[in-house]
């Protein structure tokens, strides 16, 4: 991370406990201006508490926390004027229409009449809600509610935006729309602090990722840096039957066989050289390979390596499908 870049969020020695339960235990982090920062972690890691503290909703027990250059404990109003927050639970007024919700925010941001009307129209347009502007928010779909929620956060043009699990529960299409919105915001110079339990989301969006586990940051870096933290990738061979699997295992001389899935996983760096070598051996042994997949380590592997636990499987099937279809996994069908 470029230490010369202006810092939007700076946290040192942050601690927070609820009664006996220590939720955050000495967290340090820096987020550069106009970048996307992802705080990644399983449920209960302390992500939401982190957002609540950074956004002045609750107070930390200890630590130096500066957001937009202001101390959250001593100048909460200055921090509030600079930030926007979209929490995990929708913060829209369901008894008002989409346009009224945005107007409410414009009034609370103390915009003038004309300016408010302009901003509301602009945001409705930008978030694809113009047609639903006069509809009660209670009748909005999940994706529309989430978009309205984020639009409300943006009314006051905050410099820093906190997004607590912005795509949890969204269908793949809405998720993609949300990602695009987030990227556009960052391109406009807004700093984004997002939490997610989707490794893929952090990988796709973030400039910088911090892995939060049981109240401490266990790893931090760019997606590429994090992936380099875990030892190499592997090649997965799909075989037609059990005898082919045994033959392939013998030919490769290494790897773990999955009798049920009829796959053989062979550790390796996935380079063309090592692949050619492997395929040559398989050819010599006349093993019929049904399919082959080269996998470079992804954030799942990072998570597993660093926490020693499986990634919590909260991702829905759509997300899993999207993840397996995306790089860095390359599928070569024979």
């Amino acid at each position: 991370m470029n230490l010369q870049a202006p810092v939007a969020i700076e946290v040192a020695g942050l601690r927070k406990a609820f009664g006996d339960q220590v939720v955050l235990n000495g967290v340090d982090l820096r987020v550069a201006e106009a970048t996307i920062f992802a705080l990644l972690g399983p449920n209960g890691a302390g992500k939401t508490t982190m957002v609540q503290i950074l956004s002045t909703l609750i107070r930390a027990d200890a630590g130096e926390i500066r957001v937009a250059g202001h101390d959250v404990a001593s100048e909460p109003d200055a921090v509030r004027a600079a930030i926007g927050v979209t929490g995990q639970f929708s913060a829209v007024d369901k008894l008002l229409t989409g346009a009224e919700n945005l107007m409410l925010m414009a009034d609370l941001c103390h915009l003038g009449r004309e300016q408010a009307r302009e901003r509301v129209t602009q945001l409705l347009e930008l978030f694809g809600l113009a047609d639903a502007a006069g509809k009660l928010a209670a009748r909005y779909s999940g994706g529309m509610t989430r978009r309205l929620d984020l639009a409300m956060t943006l009314v006051g043009r905050p410099q820093i935006i906190f997004l607590d699990e912005p795509t949890t529960g969204l269908d793949p299409r809405s998720r993609r729309t949300m990602w695009q919105i987030i990227r556009n915001l960052a391109a406009d110079g807004v700093t984004i602090f997002l939490t997610t339990q989707y490794l893929e989301e952090a990988d796709r969006l973030a400039d910088q990722i911090a892995l939060l586990d049981r109240g401490t940051i266990v790893a931090e870096g760019t997606p590429g840096e994090l992936k380099r933290l875990v030892p190499g990738g592997h090649v997965v061979l799909r075989l037609a039957d059990a005898s082919a699997l045994t033959a392939a295992r013998a030919a490769a001389g290494t790897g773990s066989a999955d009798e049920e899935a009829l796959t053989l996983t062979i550790p390796g760096d996935g380079s063309v050289r090592s692949l050619r070598l492997l395929l040559g051996r398989l050819d010599e042994a006349r093993v019929d390979v049904a399919g082959l997949m080269v996998r470079t380590p992804d954030l799942d592997d990072v998570f597993l390596t660093l926490t020693g636990r499986q990634v919590p499987q909260h991702r829905d099937r759509a997300a899993a499908a999207a993840a397996s279809a995306s790089p860095p996994a390359k599928v070569i069908e024979k």
């Binding site: 609820f18 609750i58 927050v85 639970f89 913060a91 007024d93 009224e100 609370l108 103390h110």
Partner: protein, 260 residues
């Protein structure tokens, strides 16, 4: 930057929000009138003839005796609605949003209170109108009307702050809707339906020392004639104490922040 400079503007914004809720769901406000009107009709036309016969010498007949109690019951009904609307705000995500905006801290609560007061004053006016239709014959001069309205409004303010407090303290909307229930019993254990002197000893003692009795007695005295002063002072004292206590309690609960 200082948020208190926007206190009035932010409270007005929140009031507009709450009024919009009321306009959008007029059935909620209508319910506030339906319940007291039901009791009014029940007591005037079903129990009234018997109760009235047992109360010789009351001014203007039983409908007139009863009306102040029914007007005060309207306030109780409205406070349930307030507790529910505060609780549904607090349990939803919207208040977390308000808390992290650079707005006045108290505007969420003052917006609720102002909205509830408008709602309850309208409901009381409607109920009074219906009461006149059933035979309520106030004899008051305009000044006495004004004083009666003032005492009713002050007591409404007290119960509104009480219900805001209950709404803040409730963990769910359902709890909030149950909290003000005991309040609905209090008018029955007061001078509202029969004179306290006719009540059994234990109940009489309770009736004479609970806030609904002086409020109802002052309304009765102001609107129908009769002794007022002692009851009015007691009513004002009760209202001011309840308002102040519940305001401070609500403010503390709201500032304590979100619960986990």
């Amino acid at each position: 930057m200082t948020s208190h400079s926007y206190a009035a503007r932010d409270s007005a914004t929140m009031l507009r929000r709450n009024l919009r809720h009321m306009v959008r769901y007029p059935s909620m406000t209508a319910m506030l009138v339906v319940l007291p009107v039901f009791f009014l009709l029940l007591f005037v036309y079903v129990f009234g003839p018997t109760l009235g016969a047992g109360l010789p010498g009351i001014r203007g007949g039983y409908a007139s005796y009863l009306a102040p109690a029914i007007i005060v019951m309207t306030i109780v009904g409205a406070s349930t609605a307030t507790a529910v609307s505060v609780a549904s705000d607090m349990t939803g995500g919207i208040v977390a949003r308000f808390r992290v905006m650079a707005i006045s801290r108290s505007c969420v609560l003052t917006g609720h209170v102002a909205g509830a007061m408008i709602q309850v004053l309208l409901a009381m006016a409607a109920v009074t109108g219906v009461a006149v239709g059933t035979g309520f014959r106030p004899t008051a001069a305009p000044a006495a009307w004004l004083a009666a309205a003032g005492i009713a409004a002050l007591f409404a303010l007290a119960l509104t702050w009480l219900s805001v407090l209950l709404g803040l303290a409730a963990r769910t909307v359902e709890t909030a809707s149950n909290f003000p229930m005991p309040l609905l019993i209090l008018p029955f254990l007061s001078s509202g339906f029969v004179p306290t002197a006719s009540l059994p000893a234990g109940v009489r003692w309770f009736a004479e020392y609970q806030p609904f009795t002086p409020v109802i007695n002052s309304l009765r005295g102001l609107l129908l004639g009769g002794p007022v002063e002692a009851a009015a002072w007691q009513a004002i004292a009760w209202s001011v104490c309840i308002s102040a206590g519940c305001y401070l309690g609500s403010r503390a609960l709201y500032r304590r922040g979100p619960r986990r």
